[in-house]
Amino acid sequence: MTRFLLSRLLQAAVVLLVMSVLVTVLLGLMPGDPVDLMAAGNPHMTPADVARLKALHGLDRPLHERYLNWLSAALRGDFGHSRLYSQPVLAVLAPRLVNTLLLLGAAFVLAIAVALPLGVYAARRPHSLIDDAVNLFCFAGISIPAFWLALLLILLFAVTLGWLPASGAGPVGAAAWWERLPYFVLPVLTLTLASIGGYTRYVRASMLVELRQDYVRTARAKGLSERQVVWRHALRNAFIPVVTIVALEFGTLFSGALVTETMFAWPGMGKLIYDSIMGNDANVALVALLLATATTLAGNLMADVAYAALDPRITFRELRT
């Protein structure tokens, strides 16, 4: 296990390094730098102002030199300053990360908690009215655009009924955690409904395959209750492909949900990444994207560990590539 973890950490470091180069190059290829954008919106800026500000922000240096400067500082723990927010990158990222973890974490847990029993329930009654209803619900969740769903929920619960706040992460001013709860409901509901459909379908499909296996028939023949057959035996095997999907989704926990965050004015990572790319805030964009990459790698690692836990036939030696 230790060798396995060390080799995966080493691989992760290489992937992150390659990603940092790739993201830097892509950001550098984007047209216009932040000073050009400033000048475009401000007719009072003179050409001399533009040249001076470019030199000040280091935008007159070649891309590779900027990258190497950033890398050497990053290895010392200094990830630079945000050009847009005039603060250290980590100071900009940290609160957004917490907001995103809370939002997407809650939606993630809720979606899995609902999708699991729903998928199992539908798989046990294939082609029944209940199965059809669950499938319709799933397809609706997959098909409905998140922004439309968000707006619908705002119009219903905030505008028409007045039960919940329309946007924001909490009331103005210092607020206890229970005062922030109402602000969670609509964005979490939006994200949960948007992702529940996919998870349910995966669980259902996987369970359908497992419930037809011989070992399930054997378990029933042995006299085990249906509950034990489904939840102790079939689900464990059905969960292996689902773990793959869930692990990949785990990466999105840190990259945020741009549309939902925008609709609900939720200050999270998704919006930050978008704004930093559009505003050419290279330091923030780079670190945020690397964070998203790191969590995806972490998710994959957790998936591999989970495989070994779920299926005793799988060993860490086999998992090592």
């Binding site: 401000n42 050409p47 000040l56 005039s86």
Partner: protein, 555 residues
């Protein structure tokens, strides 16, 4: 035991219900569609930032809602006839104005420190430092050649040139020396990152307006509270909350849900959305449309051989019915522009060529220019080439995309084939316009101040080229010696009649040559609460919040 539990619940509910909160009239909640990226008043101009910070600061001078220059932080506008603006000749023979200002005697920073000339000198020192990151560096480093101090409240600014706008120092945003000097002196290059405006935004000593910034939730909201050291009329609200909701549909929903009281035009909803909103909910709010200095126009690339012919440019303008577009798309709220100077601007002249919708006349001009009709398709020249042009604008801007489609259809009727090729704003402004890569036409807007000489957009020295590192904003590559001379003279010819004559001639040249096709002056729609009066939209870049102390809760 059960009775005790119920009792506790009722008690808790009662406590929550009776929790003190700001009354509806003590607090104003404003919704905007952008959150400021930073807070320093002189680093990176941004409409949303100005809207918020102008509740907590005052400029020395500014343009009011009547577009007249007024004093805010100073006591009296300097003038030659008052002796507070004197033409001086410097030892090197150059001439400029020495302009004397007196800071309001009661002006005090929020921590009780008086606003003095020490702050003026410090601001100038920072502003002209090449590493400070100030956007309007030219003002501090070139325009102002010296500042002499008479006492704690009186100072004289020595300006490089004898400009007619000598009294205007709208962009001289005073800084609190007692807080910012240690930060600046520690490392001037890092000042823009370490300024207390960024690291300690809620420090009362940074603000001196009717309000001060009391809390900031980045990306979400800003809370401003009444400033106890404010010297002017008592501000109407104990607290002002500004919330940012970037999605305009969600912003509107917030207003309807009662979470917002108003949405200002400076950083709010697009015009078409407000027009639809007014039809459905106009009875609940006061909706005000203020045409302003946002000049929607089509820049023409004068390097395009087709567009080098002024007859083609005139025909393009006459082939589009701008009045009908304004009525149909904007309910007549956006007045048609005939040149780049707004009719509300003092220097506007009506004595210019105008191009009303006249497709017949447009056709004749195109015929004269060698583009003739051949059937139903686009016009062709003698070589058989079709009259095909490309128009670009900001992708995702619904209003502009709609306008482009209407223009395309009208031009098609005149035999002009126009292709639409939009780009995201950062691409259009960041590269395409800056490097003059647009092939024919580009639809966008300029924002300016009253009586703004259009030097950066029309002077021949402001054409971006590879040789000058793409500096300048004369994207059309307009070159006219007379226009250049007029723009140079306008800076120093101050006698009103002579100045107006120059302004009139410049506008005539613009209308004759059409380096850009004028479309509209964009109107900012403001959705205001019925229980507040006194909010007067300005129509220019200086926000309504500069006069927030004049807003009143209706009795």
């Amino acid at each position: 035991m059960r009775r005790n539990r119920w009792g506790a619940l009722v008690l808790a509910a009662g406590m929550l219900a009776s929790a003190p909160a700001f009354g509806a009239k003590d607090e104003l909640v404003i919704g905007i569609s952008q959150f400021p990226a930073n807070w320093h008043p002189s680093i990176e101009a941004m409409a949303a930032k100005s809207y918020i910070t102008e509740m907590a600061r005052r400029p020395f001078t500014t343009y009011d809602a009547d577009w007249k220059l007024v004093c805010m932080l100073c006591t009296d506008l300097p003038a030659e006839d008052k002796g507070t603006a004197v033409l001086e000749t410097r030892p090197d023979g150059s001439r400029g104005f020495a302009v004397t200002y007196t800071i309001h005697p009661k002006a005090t920073w929020g921590d009780g420190t008086p606003v003095t000339t020490k702050d003026v000198l410090f601001t100038w020192e920072v502003g002209k430092h090449p590493q400070s990151g100030f956007s309007n560096f030219d003002l501090y480093s070139r325009d102002i050649v010296g500042i002499t101090v008479k006492d704690d409240k009186t100072f004289t600014v020595h300006r490089l040139k004898p400009l007619c706008t000598y009294a205007e120092i709208n962009d001289f945003n005073i800084l609190p020396a007692h807080l910012e000097r240690p930060v600046f002196e520690a490392d001037p290059a890092a000042y823009r990152l370490r300024s207390k405006y960024e690291t300690d935004t809620t420090n009362p000593g940074l603000w001196f307006g009717p309000y001060r910034i009391a809390a900031v939730e980045p990306g979400a909201h800003v809370v401003l509270e009444a400033n106890p050291t404010w010297w002017g009329p008592k501000p109407p609200f104990k607290r002002v909350v500004v919330k940012a909701v970037e999605n305009t549909a969600a912003l509107e929903a917030n207003l309807l849900a009662g979470q917002l009281d108003m949405i200002p035009g400076e950083a709010g909803l697009p015009l078409d959305q407000v027009l639809a909103f007014e039809k459905r909910h106009g009875a609940r709010y006061t909706v005000v449309y203020k045409p302003g200095l946002f000049y929607e126009h089509i820049d023409v690339n004068l390097d395009n051989p087709v567009l080098q012919d002024v007859r083609v440019r005139k025909a393009l303008l006459m082939a589009i019915d701008r009045e009908a577009i304004s009525k149909q798309l904007f309910a007549g709220r956006q007045p048609v522009a005939h040149n780049q100077v707004n009719p509300l601007d003092r220097v506007h002249s009506d004595d210019i060529a105008k191009y009303p919708y006249d497709p017949v006349a447009a056709g004749k001009l195109l015929d004269e220019a060698g583009w003739t009709r051949t059937g139903n398709g686009p016009r062709r020249n003698a070589k058989g080439e079709t009259l095909t042009l490309e128009i670009m604008s900001t992708a995702g801007n619904r209003t502009r995309e709609l306008t482009e489609q209407v223009l395309q259809a009208q031009w098609k009727q005149a035999g002009i084939e126009v292709r639409i090729a939009n780009e995201p704003p950062r691409v259009l402004f960041g590269q395409t316009l800056r490097e003059r890569r647009f092939k024919a036409m580009a639809l966008f807007a300029w924002i300016s101040a009253p009586e703004n000489i259009p030097r950066t957009t029309l002077h021949s020295t402001m054409i971006p080229t590879a040789d000058n590192g793409w500096a300048g904003q004369n994207f059309t590559a307009f070159r006219d010696a007379e226009a250049d001379r007029i723009m140079d003279d306008l800076e120093t010819v101050c006698e009103p009649k002579a100045s107006q004559a120059l302004w009139t001639r410049l506008q005539q040249i613009y209308a004759e040559q059409l380096p850009a096709l004028p479309l509209f002056f964009r109107a900012d729609p403001h959705i205001l609460p019925k229980w507040v009066e006194g909010i007067v939209p300005t129509g220019h870049q200086y926000a309504t919040t500069l006069w927030i102390e004049n807003w009143k809760v209706k009795e």
